[in-house]
Subunit: 118 residues, 2 copies
DNA sequence: GGATTATGCTACTGTTTCCGAAGCAATCTA
DNA sequence: TAGATTGCTTCGGAAACAGTAGCATAATCC
């Protein structure tokens, strides 16, 4: 029989990888430091997407991995699936968007800096 | 003979995982969405650390992975090793700190929100 | 000088995670 | 009713990661 996949979503207040303190930032770094997690949030930043549209937006990542990330982000209350339009950020995740915007802005600086250095 | 490890550090302007656009944000999401990458930056946010101190600060991650992440972050000019005090953020990475701060602040909200929901 | 310590790694062996393709059941759509 | 779409699941192979051990170099102590 197929062993049920574990789903160890890091949440604040729990032990997470590399930290037993339970500090929220540690859980956040663990959750968002998994492959595709940040990208998924980024792609959902301004509209909901269906599973397959989200998969395409992320450059065709494996559905198995997408499903796993969505389950983790769902357990963390960052993403929810509303029957109609697909997967969308929760209001809680919406408050994370300024940080993602900051990252986007920084990435521009980063690129400029690396280009100058060449 | 030891096969030379690849070191495919995502950089702006290049094809990265899940995006061929070369847009800086995509490279950033790829680079920082790797295991321990964000955590390493976080641990270095206010002081330089030696390899081993950094390893301990990250809860004892494998030296092989730490070495890999440091090489990638080094290629991206985010981390540098100065002979004396160890590994430190570059000024460029310093400008990423506000985003990490925002993430830290948000994580607090996140934890509070999840606690209320229980 | 010899021993001890700390440093930055590298090698090796397993486990976990991820990829990529295929396919399936349950809706919608024409 | 025949597609088309949606959300997933399964599976085998590849890549990434974990964990332990150990090495070479340099500084420090006696």
């Amino acid at each position: 029989m197929p062993r049920p996949r574990p789903l160890r979503a890091p949440l604040p207040g729990r032990r997470v990888r590399g930290s037993s303190s339970g500090r929220p930032i540690m859980a956040a770094l663990d959750l968002l430091g998994r492959r595709w997690a940040l990208r998924v949030l980024w792609e959902l930043r301004e509209r909901a997407l269906t599973f397959r549209a989200l998969q395409a937006a992320c450059g065709g990542l494996s559905p198995s991995v997408l499903q796993q990330r969505l389950a983790e982000l769902g357990a963390a209350k960052l993403v929810a699936h509303d029957g109609a339009s697909g997967y969308a950020l929760t209001p809680l995740a919406g408050r994370l968007l300024p940080a993602l915007s900051a990252l986007d802005g920084w990435a521009g600086e980063w690129a400029a800096s690396l280009t100058r250095a060449r």
